[in-house]
């Protein structure tokens, strides 16, 4: 088991390295750098000015060198102005060149400076992740129990009335992406045209003061899309368990139906959905970006949109590291959990 986890962590690190290099490559293509220079300076910069800006900030070095600097395995770039002052990535405002460390990358714990938010990337990512964490917590709390209940109810008796109705509901939710259900919810529950006005159409206030009124719609919108999929997987797993030999034996023995479901079937039926729920995280990230944009909730997904829209390289890299980390860790947990829950599977 230890070796398995070690191997998985190794693959994880390699994946993270490859992906960050990919992001690095795409964000450091010359047209993107030009856009960055123009948003940082002004939009009427001439080509020479752009060139000198990029030169000054070390963007014109070869790609592997820049990547090494970001990682913190190469000494970071410094530029000496004509008046003798030294500029560099490691030299924070108000710090002299001698005091600043030579290496500053993520290995040293420095994530860079966000050009959009004018803050250190670690602060930006930290606060935004906290906000999104709260959103995700409520999404999970709503989505997982209701999806499991739906799936188990539907899978109890395959082909029954409950099964068909709940399955149709599950299919409908999987067919409704967040930007469609969100728009429909806003139209029905918040607009003055329909007049229900039960909820608020934006979740901006929910950042400081989350209430049911301003926070429920975004949570529901994300939860609904993921719910159908988990419910269908639970249903499939439940129907499979209900046709197993030992369930038939229990029925023949005369165990009551509710006892069979609660005591015999449920535990085995919930193994597969566990994996599905864990693997659902990368999709939830998509939902988070859409919903945070739609409801103007300034969390992690919103920060992603801002960073990508303004080619904020350092922030984008940090965001991709965090999201890749989330994806890979949930994959690892789902693998380990699967082995733990299902003793029939052994890792050799």
């Amino acid at each position: 088991m230890g070796l398995f986890i070690l191997k998985r962590v190794g693959i994880m690190l390699m994946t993270a390295l490859c992906l960050t290099f990919l992001v690095f490559f795409l964000t450091n293509l010359y047209p993107n750098l030009e856009k960055l220079a123009k948003t940082q300076g002004n939009f009427r910069m001439s080509d020479e000015q752009v060139e000198s800006y990029l030169e000054k900030n070390g963007y014109l070095q070869p790609m592997p060198v820049k990547y090494g600097e970001w990682l913190g395995v190469l000494p970071s770039y410094r530029h000496t102005n004509e008046d003798g002052t030294v500029l560099g990535r490691c030299i924070l405002p108000g710090q002299s060149a001698e005091d600043a460390p030579r290496f500053c990358g993520i290995l040293q714990g420095y994530w860079g400076y966000s050009t959009v938010f004018k803050q250190e990337v670690s602060t930006v990512v930290g606060t935004r992740l906290g906000l999104t964490g709260r959103l995700m917590f409520w999404v999970m709390l709503l989505m997982v129990p209701s999806a499991l209940i739906l799936g188990v109810l539907a899978g109890m008796k395959e082909g029954s009335a409950t099964d068909r109705t709940l399955s149709t509901f599950a299919i409908t939710t999987t067919a409704t992406p967040e930007y469609v259900s969100g728009v429909i919810f806003i139209a029905i529950f918040t607009s003055s045209a329909v007049g229900l006005k039960w909820f608020k159409g934006t979740a901006t206030q929910a950042m400081e003061n989350p209430t049911f009124e301003n926070f429920f719609l975004p949570v529901l919108t994300i939860a609904l899309y993921g719910m159908g999929y988990i419910a269908r997987m639970t249903r499939a797993s439940m129907t499979e368990v209900m046709t197993a030999q030992y369930i038939r034996t229990a029925r023949l023995k005369g165990v009551s139906f509710s006892n069979i479901v609660m005591k015999h079937a449920l535990r085995n039926a919930l193994i597969a959905p566990f994996t599905v729920i864990m693997l659902q995280f990368p999709w939830l990230l998509n939902g988070v970006v859409i919903v945070e944009t739609l409801f103007n909730y300034k969390g992690f997904g919103w920060a992603l949109v801002q960073a990508a829209g303004n080619n904020d390289i350092q922030l984008l890299l940090a965001i991709s590291v965090v999201s890749v980390f989330v994806v890979l860790v949930t994959q690892l947990i789902s693998d380990i959990g699967y082995v733990y829950l299902n003793p029939r599977i052994r890792i050799s």
Binding site: I11, T15, L29, P31, A161, P177, N286, A308, V324, L328
Partner: protein, 487 residues
């Protein structure tokens, strides 16, 4: 001109429809509760050995459900038929159903032909045995026909890009202030915030989806199959490497990838063109290996066939990836492609990058499915038999394993078209790739959502259209799965 109401002179049907829908809901709830509470229907064994069961209370609830559902369907049909006959005097619904006349006709012909010959049509024919599959197929074909006829300018009432002054944010059924010769006098679903016709934009949006989604999914399948079969069949290093690549792309959040790939800056560097040049090779490889592995024992037949097929495929490939005589044309350098007089069609950079990134995102998942199926099927006896016969590995992969994996692949194909539609909508929603005035559903939803608290009509039609198309594809996949499991 008078503004149109929703139902016009057939408003007398509205209370009937309300009653029918209420009856449907009530009987649905009773049916579900009944299936839990009521006892099973009693079964009695007759003297001659047959079994008969009385209808019981459960049968009654089911009957009620069936009749109320039939009433709802009949009323909906009545709206459409009366609408076709009466046109705008039957209100907005009538006018819309009249505009959709070519779609209704094609649907009726398609369904009539398919049901008449369903026993001769294989899996497609069996689809018409499952009600779920039929509903799904109907929804999908409705949007396919809408897309096609919309592209032929049959359904739309106005140009989707025309702005008519005075029609900004007007509610559905508003007449135009001044009607020119041969112009449609109303905005059936109202005007958007730039005073364009919402109805025509929705119809035109269907064409964009119908064009891109199936084609992109097909390319993703070609890539996934060409890489997944050898990975599953050979295993070993090749499998490890390809699986690592696939997991790499899958670990990447889709939206981040879109934001990095689908920007005008990236288009300017020519990265999407390189990706297109690589990704679009796979269908050619697939075709070449497919035909060669089958016919290599008969070179006299194989060689002309391959030359013919690959010649056409290469020509299509080159015209697909080259635009204006160049394959890649950036400011600093260019790579020569097919000369313009041989170029069959040009794809604008914005569309190409959308297409490429959707294929790129979808193919790893297909790869994983195909690899799993190949791993499973390669242990079967018929594969061993083919190996004993001395067939080559590619023959076994493409002519033994692939046909036997078709069931799950067809089902996944339908689901994946739906997913691709959602992805296209996401791209439009974030304003990536497609031009801002493009009538695709995602962009229209994005524009409409900004005024959603006051005006509902610009955002809701495209949202419901996307919902119904994806729902149709999901139902179709469900029906196909059910029917293919019956074999």
């Amino acid at each position: 001109m008078e503004p149109l109401t929703w139902t016009g002179s057939i408003a007398l049907l509205n209370p009937l429809l309300m009653i029918a829908i209420a009856a449907l809901l009530v009987s649905l709830v009773v049916w579900i509760l009944g299936s839990i509470v009521l006892p099973e229907t009693p079964v009695s064994v007759n003297v001659d050995g047959t079994i008969s069961s009385g209808s019981g209370l459960r049968g009654l609830t089911q009957k009620a459900l069936r009749y109320s559902f039939a009433a709802c369907v009949a009323l909906a049909l009545a709206y459409i038929v009366l609408g076709i006959l009466m046109g705008t005097s039957a209100g907005i619904i009538g006018a819309i159903s009249q505009q959709f006349l070519p779609v209704w006709l094609s649907l009726v012909i398609l369904f009539a032909m398919s049901i008449a010959f369903k026993r001769k049509l294989g899996l497609y024919g069996k689809l018409f045995d499952s009600p779920i599959g039929m509903i799904g197929f109907g929804l999908v074909m409705f949007w396919v026909f809408t897309g096609i006829f919309g592209a032929m300018d049959l359904i739309i009432t106005h140009d989707p890009l025309d702005q008519v002054s005075g029609m900004k944010n007007k509610v559905p059924g508003t007449p135009l202030p001044s009607v020119g010769e041969g112009e449609y006098a109303w905005y059936l679903l109202g005007g958007d915030n730039l005073a364009r016709d919402v109805f025509s934009r929705m119809v035109k949006g269907a064409w964009i989806v119908v064009q891109i989604a199936p084609l992109a999914t097909m390319f993703a399948f070609m890539v996934g199959i060409t890489l997944g079969l050898p990975a599953g069949f050979y295993g070993g290093r090749l499998d490890t490497f390809l699986s690592f690549l696939a997991n790499l792309i899958l670990a990447f959040p889709v939206i981040l990838l879109f934001y990095l790939l689908v920007t005008p800056e990236i288009v300017a560097t020519g990265v999407p063109n390189y990706m297109a040049a690589v990704l679009f090779v796979f269908p050619i490889l697939f075709l070449a290996v497919l035909l060669n592995s089958r016919f290599y024992t008969r070179p006299s037949f194989r060689t002309p066939l391959l030359i013919g097929v690959l010649g056409i495929a290469l020509w299509l490939y080159l015209s697909l990836i080259s635009t204006g005589g160049y394959i890649i044309n950036t400011d600093t350098y260019g790579i020569w492609g097919l000369p313009t007089y041989l170029d069959l069609f040009d794809i604008p950079g914005g569309i190409l990058v959308v297409f490429v990134s959707v294929v790129f995102v979808n193919s790893p998942t297909v790869f994983r499915i195909v690899r799993g199926l190949a791993l499973d099927i390669k242990t079967r006896d018929y594969v061993a038999a083919a190996q004993t016969r001395g067939e080559g590995p590619w023959y076994i992969m493409l002519w033994e394993i692939l046909p036997n994996a078709r069931g799950p692949l067809i089902v996944d194909f339908c689901l994946r078209i739906g997913y691709t539609t959602i992805l296209l909508g996401t791209l439009g929603f974030f304003g990536l790739g497609l031009p801002p005035e493009s009538p695709d559903w995602g962009s229209t939803i994005n524009e409409g959502r900004k005024l959603l608290s006051i005006y509902l009509h610009p955002a809701l039609p495209p949202a419901l259209a996307l919902l119904s198309l994806v729902l149709g594809l999901n139902l179709l996949a469900d029906g196909l799965r059910e029917e293919s499991l019956k074999d």
